[in-house]
Every structure is written in C-alpha cells, then in structure tokens.
Amino acid sequence: MSGVWMGMPAFPEAAREALADGQLRANLRTATGTIRAKRAAVVGERADWERLRLAGRAIKDRALRDLDTYLVRLEERVTEAGGVVHWARDAAEANRVVIELVRAAGSDEVVKVKSMATQEIELNEALADAGITAHETDLAELIVQLGQDRPSHILVPAIHRNRSQIRDLFRRAMPGAPADLTDDPVALAAAAREHLRRKFLSAKVAVSGANFAVAETGSLVVVESEGNGRMCLTLPEVLISVVGIEKVVPTWADLEVMLQLLPRSSTGERMNPYTSTWRGVTPGDGPREFHLVLLDNGRTAALADDIGRDALRCIRCSACLNVCPVYERTGGHAYGSVYPGPIGAILTPQLRGVDADPVSASLPYASTLCGACYEVCPVLIDIPKALTHLRGQVVDAHRGKPSAERLGMGLAAWVFARAGRFAAAQRLAALGGRVLARKGRIGRLPGPLAGWSDARDAPVPAEETFREWWLKNRGESR
C-alpha cells in the first residue's frame, strides 16, 4: 500500500475490499464502540452541551463570515510577535514554502506533530522528493509511517492495526527496537519513546499544524495526548506551522468554548493531557524562528458554497467517524482521502472538486443519510444536508452524458408526473413481479438489480395496488 491517495478506486470498490477483512472490521467495531461510549459519558455530564454546540457553531460561522478580516488580523499579530506568515494557494505552494524554509535552516530532516493539513498536502512525500526526511512523532502516525501505510482515522490514524501487528512492524522497521519486544502496550510505547527522543534532540526543524489560530492575539493552539507535540513545538530551532485558513477563531475567549467541545467530542476526555499555545518567538526560550503557512487548497471554493461551507466549521474531532455505521464497517481507507468518514465525504469532494476524480464523485454517496453524524457534531454541521447538496453537484456535473441511472431517473420523473402513467407502470411492475416470483418472494435477479438480490430477497409487487383497492372499495376520488 502506498502512502499517497490519488488513483484510489471509488468508494464502493474500496469498501468491498475493506469489508472482506474480518480482522479490520473487528478492530474497528471495538475501537469505535469504545470511543463512542466514552464520548457519550463525558458529553452526558454537561447539562449545557447543546448550548455549547450552538456557541461553537456561532464562533466558527463568525470567523468564516469575515474570514478575510480575521486572517489579516492574524497575520498582523503573528508578525508583531516575531513570526513570519506565508500564504499558500494550494498544496504545491505550501510544500514549496516548507521545503525552502527547511533548506534555509540547513537541515535535511524535520520532526512532525500530528497534523491533518500536512497530510492533506502530502508534505512528507514532497519533502522526501526534496531529500528531506520527515519523522512523524505521534505514536499512531509513527506506526502508519513505518508501515508505509495510510491513516484510516482522523484522531486514531492506526485504528486499523492491533498491537501484535504493531510489534511486528516495530521489530521490522523501527531503528533500535529491542529484538525481544512484546505486544504489551507499555513496552511498545517505551520503544517508540526511545526512538523518538533521539529525533527530538537532534532535529533543528519542526513542522506542525494547529487546532486553532486566534486572530485577536496571534496565538496558535495544538491539543494532544502524548507530549510529543510539546517536544516538537519547543525543542527545535525553527518551527513551521501549516494551518488551514478555516482554523482561525476571532478571539482568545472563543477558546473557552472550543476547548470544551473538542476533547469531549474527540477522545471522550474532559480535557486532553497537553494543550500548547504560542505566539511568535521568545528570545532564549523555544524556537528562534516561527513560520505560519496559511493554506487555502480549495477552502475558499468551499466557502463560496452556501451549504458546502458548513464543512469548514469542522474542528477535526472525528466524533462523526466513530458513530458512522458505514465507517464502522469499511474503515477509513475506503474514503480515499486523509479525511475519512462523514466529514470526509463532504470535505474531500469540496477541496478537490466533486468531479475531480472518481473517488470524489463517489464520496457524497458513501452514506445512508442516517443522520448519526449530525447528532454528535460539536459544531452542528448538517452533514446529511451537505451530502444531498453535493450529490446534486455530482449529478449536474455529469448532465448531458448518458447513463443507465440518468435514463432511469428521467423515466421515473416522467412516470410520476401523471397518476395515469404511474398506474400503468404499477401494472407493468405487477406483471414483472409475477414472472420473477417463486413462492411469494423474488430471489436472485439479473443485471443492475443483482446488487440487491445477491443477499436479499425482494418483495413481490402486490396483485392489487392501494389505489386500485381504494377505487374499488371507496370509489370517490377525494
């Protein structure tokens, strides 16, 4: 499995492959079930949870409505504090900025804090092409990187791996791993810590993302669980943070709300173990240089869409993944993007363009529209609404090209336009049903309906439709 995403098969095919992996499904079921229960418990103890969600939505909406103002303010404050702000229109620009900064620091390696934005732009691959080695320092990201694998969850990127698989991987791929390493989680963490500590102490450059960027103060915020982030943010000489433009919040006080919503929704904790915030540089303490790379990469296009823009409220908590019945069965790789699950299904097609590739066009359909995601989203993103909206864009992008589905939908619309046509179609369906039925049910069907009938019997259309019964027994028309 390669580390990059493009060229993945569309969701239905990738999902089929994932569904065949019983170990994966068992891992996912246990992991998502555990996080779901933890989240429900810590959310349940807050009587004001619904008000917090409304506040979170309002804060993000305010930031997005006047994003231009807040971004410029952020740039001013960061610059005042001794940082340097770079603006990147797309992944290529952002990667080029980072590569130049690492080279300017005279380094050929960086340590990395877990970051979605840098995965989105495939920074590690771009750095490797430029001869620079990136060391992921989050334990799960390290597991993914050592396995030349892809993350399958926003918060728990190695959710698809169990501990014996991780022990085998460490023994094989992690320099200095003890030969007698067991699959005891404490031993695994200790081995990783020893490996990473050498990197923290030697690396001159660190690359991070940020959970929030405060316009009012120019502060960046990273929340994490392991302390590796704190190491990266404080030990190296140069710190480069690649941050999506939608991460800005207007004021420092807004963090009061966001830092209550995020850990409870994400890890199911009241507060995460490490919260680091910083402004620019401080002589004699921490990095000597701080660079903030503000990344667009499709975000302004999403912002222009009146429904799609709600996805930019996302704070990457992954609560929607953990409750999603589709994600629970397919895992994250099937979504062909660093953003899996329900949020990925609406974010990825917007960042890439709904018609950019077969994966993006298939993602809005990777949902039953059950609404479990909307129910838990801490910033109230109506994901089902956005999904149907994006499905409309997928269909509109393909108008004029013939397809069996388009033909069928057009025919159905014509039939439904007149009750007489519909009644005639019902008689045809009843006739077809009588031909196919065996013992009151319809078994395996040919052609496009085989997808239904491979595992499911189909009902036989009734001998007498409701409207026929009504006209016979009640007579009058209304």
């Binding site: 359909y365 479990a372 439904f416 496009p448």
Partner: protein, 244 residues
C-alpha cells in the same frame, strides 16, 4: 375529522396492506379518510440521489395534490421527512417564491402515521390485539429527522397480547439508505446483516417499523436467511384485532 392519505408510491405498489391498515385504524377511530387519486411521489428518491432538478415538478404536483386538506397522514417516516425537511429546499433550488409559499403551507400539515395518532388525535390505545413477540427498529428518518421518539412504541405497548422486546443497538441504521442499497450494495448488506443478527437475537416473531423501505431491506435478508422472522409495518399491527 377529515384526514388525507399520502400513501407514497412505494407503499402503493409494493406494500398496499400498510396503507389499507392506516385507513382501517383511522376509520375505526371514527375519522373520514380521503385519498387524492392524483398523487404519485414526493420526490425523495430523486432528491436524495442528486436529481434535484427532476424533483421540482414532483414537489409542485405534491402541493397541488394535497392542497386544502388540513391533515395529511402517511405510513412512511422517510417520505414525510422528505416533505417536511426538503420540500422547502427544493422550492429554494427552483427559485420559485410561489412554490416556497405553497410548500410552507402544505409541509407542516403532513404527518407520519404514529405521530398523527399520538400528537393530533391524542390516542395511544387504538384497540388492537396482536398476541405475538415483537421487536421494533426505529428507522433513521423517524428517529432523527422527525423525532418520533417513543410514539410508535407507546402505541405498540398498548396493543393487547403484544410482547415488545428491545432490539440491541436499535438506533443504528439498517443500511438501506435508498439508492445506497444499490450503489453501495456490499456496505448496505454488511450493515443489514448486523441488524438482522440483532433481530434474530431478540427471539421476536415480528420486526416492526414505520418505514417499509427499511423493512424491505432487513426483511429481504431475514427471508434469504430463512430466519422465520416476519417484518410488519406498525400500522398493520395497529389494525389487527377487532378494534375499539
């Protein structure tokens, strides 16, 4: 009371017994059911699959077909959710202020059957008898979009002889999802397989719900597995027995 029946194209063709059951229960309770015969489809399939332009004439037709009826009742939570939640959106897409006004007038008058019984008629005991072990699956549109909560189970608990048993992980989606069941058939079946396993675990003879579409999916699996479990719309259970 004069009550309009929105049968839904799906029930009309495949599950007319559920619609007849709605008529039977309402008439038994002394109400006058009318059926606008010009009705066809609310547009849910088109809308949810992305054919939103094709959906516009269907919404226009819907508001015409049900104009002037104070209470409209339907044995499908997902079609009612389409009417209440997304008809306004279709009018927005059509950029038609007249249609938006018509939708704003029609949509709130459309209610799912159990919602109508409990909220409008104030009835939980419809005088039904059904001496069987039943488990109930809350379908997603009923549970999350319409917020039916315990209305269907309050009605079921009042049925003579009915033993209602809890369904494990009841609130998880069954995997039907309209065209999802075909477009993502493997995932749909994987979800449905877990749902049908939970249904079998209850030992129930009957799986009940307020959406025949979800029941067609789970029932199709239960039938293929020769499980012996029947699926039934809640309305059909409420119509059984002699009545009040």
């Amino acid at each position: 009371m004069r009550v309009g029946l929105f049968v839904t194209c799906f029930n009309d063709t495949l599950f007319p017994a559920s619609a007849r059951a709605v008529v039977r229960v309402l008439e038994r309770l002394g109400h006058d059911v009318v059926f606008p015969v010009t009705q066809t489809c609310c547009g849910q399939m088109h809308f949810n699959t992305g054919y939103q332009r094709e959906c516009v004439p269907l919404v226009r037709k819907f508001v015409d077909d049900f104009a002037g009826i104070d209470h409209v009742v339907s044995p499908s939570a997902s079609c009612v959710a389409m009417v209440r939640e997304f008809h306004p959106r279709v009018a927005e897409i059509a950029r038609d202020a007249g249609l938006a006004r018509a939708v704003a007038d029609t949509s709130p008058r459309v209610r799912e059957f159990t919602e109508f019984l409990v909220d409008v008629l104030g009835v939980t005991d419809v005088g039904a008898a059904f001496p069987h072990r039943v488990t109930y699956h809350p379908t997603c549109h009923g549970l999350r979009t319409l917020g039916l909560a315990d209305r269907p189970t309050r009605l079921l608990r009042a049925v003579r002889g009915l033993r209602l048993v809890d369904l494990p992980e009841a609130e998880q989606c069954c995997g039907f999802g309209g065209t999802f069941a075909l477009k993502n058939a493997d995932t749909s079946v994987a979800m449905g397989a877990d749902k049908s396993r939970h249904v079998r675990e209850t030992g129930a003879e009957v799986l009940a719900a307020v959406d025949n579409s979800c029941l067609m999916h789970v029932g199709g699996l239960l039938s293929r597995q020769r499980s012996g479990v029947r699926v039934m719309h809640v309305a059909e259970i409420l119509a059984s027995g002699e009545g009040p």
